[in-house]
Symmetry: C2
Subunit: 643 residues, 2 copies
């Protein structure tokens, strides 16, 4: 398998089972994801640009290049990376939707960045001359190489858009500087926050310069020997507790874990290291089976923004950082390309609909940073134009630490590149959206399809063949939840289990393929070992996790602490109340416990003294989790106690 | 009600319903608490002294006084306080068990402290001349006034032991310096960590100098206006989110909350401020009813060592800092004295048996810092002579941050002072231990009692009257869990409900009073609003919370993830296996789910697809929670899922 090194796609492995269909080959039209992609183009990108400017993160480059006086505040070590992540997002977006004004803005920011680069190629606004700390003096916490990695990813985006410009040369000069300084022993370890590794490998792929991959390999292979400074959650915070080849599960800081793991998959793939790939697959499998929330969110713990131990999946304070979901998609996509196993695409779908889609609001000016599954009290409100220090708030315009917004915009800008893959003479649709897909098979034949669907609201996915030559294989992913799906090819029906359908034939332009996914609401039961979820259920429909939301502005709102779902009743589909972005809401029946229920002065009583509680019938509305907190202050539950 | 200002007791309110019987009036003999008090005298005090020396925390005083070169490490802002807490513990212990060598050591440390005091009375090893930071420059984080508060508490202990020595004069000089600097506007706020307030008020009580109380009042009343720097959990971390009179529940950092609240009770009591006292009672009531774990532990969250919101009582990672329990006892004891309500003494009993007793190991050389209710994986082992940075470990000799060991030793040293109270012509036994109690009633009559009991293993508490004159009232606390208790006075039986018994008569030296508390194991059910505990039960016996512990060294150990308790079976009493410190262990029956149970690649499945799991009968041993992790590496559960 070979892929053009510079297809418009974030990940171009040199080996592996599947090749990505480039973003240029996937045209999303009306529907769930195109709305978000368009919001990104129209609103989110400029929003990030404005806020980065307002926060002074461009000024940091001006100070470093001597264009502005000394920065007074030195606390934020990683804001260069936010500039680079925005540049990456702009590069993807410009490649698909050229816009001279935006191109001009891109060039301006490029000049700002390049001006801060020192003569020897070094670039970081926090380290260097002019009273700044010396290079490589705080690798554990300084985010110095981390920032470089994000510049490399932005440069790769630019290269793959066919623009070998100053951003690219700036990134390469920095990569060469770091490569040489590492070789010379000036850089004693990797960065406490992995990211340079994944940036270096993709830069190697995009430039053909294998030194960068070798550099990444050394950083990866030397990690895990507890060399970083102590941390309140131990060396696992940095993934520095054990070497990657010895680890059985992901742990520590979720985003660190995901960025590192993405690079490890890249390394294993490019170097044909089957044992390493198998190790990472096992790590992912254990993490997905025991350390992942139903939304795909990862990181139960606020302290260290970190994974809990197995089955520590508490909804109350689930941290579930948005960046962790972006990182998990990075890993799952690489594993999908490396192995061709559909469950990785299932994971991506879950993460996209229930984590990535949850972060921005419908207006495109606020983001969630953390994504708990329970809001017993309404989340803390954030004023307009406030960038809070704490992260467990309602959606905010920006955050004092703002890794998440820039991660969301780069993900949405490159989103079409995650929808389809080719291998040999097969095309596989990994995700579903209305639109058109055009790709080359490996032998050079061009295939064009039209997809018509209202997924995720409706389960019918209709494919028309627009361009075809000879025999080839069409595969469609049947999601793991879609038991009872069926496929019709020109009216001929076949039941299809979760996994991939496979239809090989000499296709004609009037062939019609329709995948029918069952969209009945599903009541989902948690593994009994998850303490925090025992005695509760969640409701899903299609790829969407639903939640009950109770608006504080609604005088008839149900007190979610007192609601108990009756699973004997069917869940009904209903139009959503006052949510334009939701086509299907649900209604569930249960009971509301009497208010006297709240009157105990000690919450642990002898079994015999627990009186049964009076209840009344009650009905609640369920909405997709991604849409919560869009109608104002509210309480919310994904996991609902049952009768 | 009046109390001698210098009885040997940590808290001497100028008003209130009850007066403490001084520590000198309570002689513990053989039994649960005397074992621990003796361990404190024999082992823990010297252990702390040795470790404070080893960690360089005495050296900080030597550096400040110019007796040693500059300290190189500046990270630990609060270690002066650990020295002071040890001094407080030594002072209480010396007052009850004079020991010339220990008295000499006390004098040596006093000299060390006094030498570091500046000419104007200021004293803190982290602030001052010789390149240190300037005074009062980081009140939010610097622990500057906090350290002073602990010195004041140590000085009070010394004063109440009748030793008006150099430690006392040093403390008073510092108190005067701070009082004047605050009055002059040099100290802009209180300390981010409350403690000075409770120290100041007790110093006012012990010296009769009301300026200190006024100073504390100002610090308390001006708090709550969000003046401290932002924190990841918000201003509530510092209890600086809302003024104390407006708060309805305790929140933020648990130890900060408890130290502040103790001072607020003191202030309300001494100033006869009934509305303020009522406010604090309500805060305690809400905290106890909704934010306290079954052990009395508080602080669900690791981030910020802080309270969760209501019913966020997750066992997996419950932080439950040992210091928080010491702080909660400080508050509950003050509320008990102020109100005479027995439930505060119930809370103290729960905290003592299940939190304070849990911290030190039986050998007296290791401590728990955090006290979770579930160890799904064995806690992290700590090598001998290692002081870990992280706190979620097995018991350790010491910690990099070591507030807890010194809090435990000062609590154990002053423990007898928490056992009994007098008011008018009544004596109340608040806690039970074998021993002797001697006190004056308010009219000056002397009463002496002998207590014979094997509590908490046996529920029989037998009292003999050793000295008596005329009529007086004997009250005994019947714990809130002791439904079905009865009292016999000279053989005459009376059923007694939870609360206080009350027997008024002209007692004779041969009168015998016996309280019978029912000690049958109790199965306890959590409030259904606690997500993390739904579908589980805990087992208690007497004042002790029990847990199941599964030793990793035991080849027949039960996998606690797979055990389900059958509540239909009685819990049986059994001798403990290999635990000399436990007289009664328990045995419970249930089932063990099949191992295949663990084989799912996604932990949330549709209800219909959840197969029933094969099980086999199983029996587990339960031991008191305080004794867990004493027999080596183990997993542990307080809350046990039921069938």
């Amino acid at each position: 398998m070979t892929t053009s090194l510079n297809s418009l796609t974030p990940v171009c492995p040199t080996h592996g089972v599947l090749s990505p269909v480039p973003g240029t080959g996937v045209q999303l039209s009306d529907g769930f994801w195109n709305t978000r992609r368009q919001l990104n183009t129209d609103r989110l990108l400029d929003h990030c640009d404005t806020w980065i400017d307002r926060m002074g993160w461009y000024d940091a480059f001006r100070v470093a290049s001597g264009q502005a006086p000394d920065r007074t505040f030195k606390g934020k070590l990683f804001t260069d990376a936010d500039v680079y992540k925005l540049m990456e997002a702009l590069a993807w977006d410009l490649a698909q939707r050229p816009d001279p004004a935006r191109e001009q803005r891109f060039a301006e920011i490029t000049e700002l960045i390049a001006a801060a680069q020192e003569d020897d190629g070094y670039l970081n606004t926090f380290y260097g001359p002019q009273g700044r700390d010396a290079r490589y003096t705080d690798l554990a916490h300084g985010h110095e190489l981390y920032c470089a990695g994000h510049l490399f990813q932005a440069a790769v985006a630019r290269l793959r858009a066919g623009k070998d410009d100053k951003l690219v040369s700036t990134a390469i000069a920095l990569a060469d500087r770091l490569y040489e300084d590492y070789a010379a022993g000036l850089i004693a370890s990797s960065d406490g926050h992995p990211e340079i590794e994944v940036g270096l490998i993709e830069l190697a792929r995009a430039t053909g310069d294998d030194r960068y991959r070798d550099f990444a390999k050394q950083l990866i292979e030397t990690r895990g020997h507890q060399t970083f400074e102590h941390h309140a959650i131990g060396h696992e915070y940095y993934l520095d507790d054990i070497p990657v080849r010895d680890a059985e599960v992901l742990r520590g800081h979720v985003v660190r874990a995901m960025y590192l793991t993405a690079a490890v998959v890249d390394l294993a793939t490019d170097t044909d290291d089957a044992p390493l790939l198998e190790t990472v697959q096992k790590q992912w499998e254990n993490t997905w089976a025991r350390r992942t929330h139903i939304t795909g969110g990862m990181g139960t713990r606020h302290l260290g923004e970190s994974f809990g131990s197995d089955f520590e999946l508490t909804p109350d304070r689930a941290y579930n950082e948005t960046c962790g979901a972006v990182g998990a998609i990075m890993v799952a996509w690489r594993l999908l390309l490396a192995t061709g196993e559909s469950h990785y695409a299932d994971a991506i779908e879950r993460l996209l609909y229930n984590m990535v889609a949850t972060s921005p609001n419908a207006e495109g000016d606020r983001f969630f940073y953390v994504n708990p599954l329970l809001a017993r009290e309404p989340a803390i409100a954030v004023e307009e134009n406030e960038a809070p220090f704490r992260k467990d708030t309602q959606r905010a315009n920006w955050f004092w630490v703002a890794c998440c917004p820039t991660n969301v915009v780069r993900m949405l800008a490159s989103l079409p590149a995650y929808f389809a893959t080719v291998d040999g003479s097969a095309l596989t649709l990994q995700q579903y959206s209305a639109g058109k897909i055009e790709t080359l098979l490996e032998d050079g034949r061009t295939i064009r399809l039209a997809v018509t669907t209202e997924y995720p609201w409706d389960g019918t996915i209709r494919l028309g063949i627009l361009e075809t030559t000879g025999e080839w294989t069409l595969r469609l992913r049947v999601p793991e939840w879609a038991h009872g799906a069926h496929l019709t090819v020109n009216g001929e029906r076949e039941d299809v289990p979760p996994g991939y359908t496979s239809s090989t034939r000499t296709w004609n332009a009037d062939d019609e393929v329709v995948l029918h996914l069952p969209m009945k609401p599903r009541v989902v039961v948690p593994d009994d070992r998850i303490n925090a979820l025992r005695g509760t259920v969640a409701v899903e429909r299609g790829p969407l996790v639903y939640c009950v939301e109770s608006l504080t502005s609604d005088p008839d709102a149900v007190d979610l602490d007192r609601f108990r779902l009756n699973v004997a009743h069917d869940i009904e589909e209903r139009p959503a109340h006052n949510l334009s972005d939701v086509a299907v809401a649900l209604r569930a029946r249960g009971v509301l416990a009497d208010e006297t229920y709240t009157d105990q002065n000690w919450p642990y009583q002898q079994a015999s003294s627990t009186d049964s509680v009076a209840t009344t019938e009650a009905v609640v509305e369920l909405i997709p989790y991604y849409a919560w907190s869009n109608r104002g202050s509210s309480t919310m539950r994904v996991w609902i106690p049952t009768l």
